[in-house]
């Protein structure tokens, strides 16, 4: 059996990749994908721990998390779409009419 630490390391790596993407990418879609990576990192954890403890709540919750992630992407894409219509670009750093 693979020790739980390995899953933790994997999920931490995925989480950091996600954060890195969030910080460096200016394309709204890639931003979204990075967020998905973060969510999936959490899912890896949930499933791994669920396996370790032998109870199912983690796995079931991971299913819920996936559903929510899909819904989040749906809303996100909608917003990116209207962003494109208003600013003619999906660069997230373009929309800066409000600040300070």
């Amino acid at each position: 059996m693979i020790p739980t630490q390995y899953y933790l390391l994997l999920s931490a790596a995925v989480f950091c990749i996600g954060i890195f993407g969030v910080l460096t990418r200016r394309n709204a879609l890639i931003f979204l994908m990075s967020v998905e990576l973060i969510l999936n990192a959490a899912n890896i954890n949930l499933v791994a721990f669920s396996f370790q403890y032998g109870n199912l709540s983690g796995q079931v919750f991971a299913l819920f998390a996936m559903g929510l992630a899909a819904a989040e992407v749906a809303v996100g894409l909608g917003i990116v779409l209207v962003l494109y219509r208003n600013f003619s670009d999906i660069d997230v750093t373009e929309a800066t009419t409000m600040r300070w």
Binding site: V73, L77, L81
Partner: protein, 138 residues
């Protein structure tokens, strides 16, 4: 007791080798007939608009895809329920096992009905896509 990693390594090796070999074999065997339709980006049968460098799709494609993803994920939630359904009905009765799921499905249906009535699944070809299709065929 053998190391479980051996099996994993073997699986990975096979997983990489099969596609590689298929691509190389077909590259050796196929005749080369370049054509416009073949260079177009394949996107589930839908015709891409704009240049191939910056691919843009009809917005409707997103709509349907999103609806698909959301409803697809919801079905995942039904699977665990089906697994335990028979035992659970025996232990708890219908009103605690069947009705909640019916309620859940009812909400989903309401959402689907709303999306349908608001035209989210109605397919309208965008003028630009139609135009591009005709130019490609000429």
């Amino acid at each position: 007791m053998s190391n479980p990693w051996i099996a994993i390594g073997a699986l990975a090796l096979v997983g990489v080798l099969i596609p590689l070999s298929m691509i190389s074999v077909s590259a050796l065997l196929r005749p080369s007939v370049p054509e416009q339709g073949k260079r177009a980006t394949y996107e589930s049968g839908e015709i891409p608009t704009g240049s191939s460098q910056q691919i843009r799709f009809n917005i409707q494609y997103y709509m349907v895809a999103l609806l698909f993803v959301v409803f697809d994920i919801e079905t995942v939630l039904i699977f665990p329920w089906t697994v335990i359904y028979r035992d659970a009905v025996g232990a708890l009765g219908y009103e605690q096992v069947l009705f909640p799921m019916l309620l859940f499905l009812g909400v989903l249906v309401a959402g689907l009905a709303w999306a349908w009535r608001n035209g989210a699944v109605q397919w309208v070809k965008s003028p630009r896509a139609t135009r591009q299709l005709s130019t490609n065929n000429e």
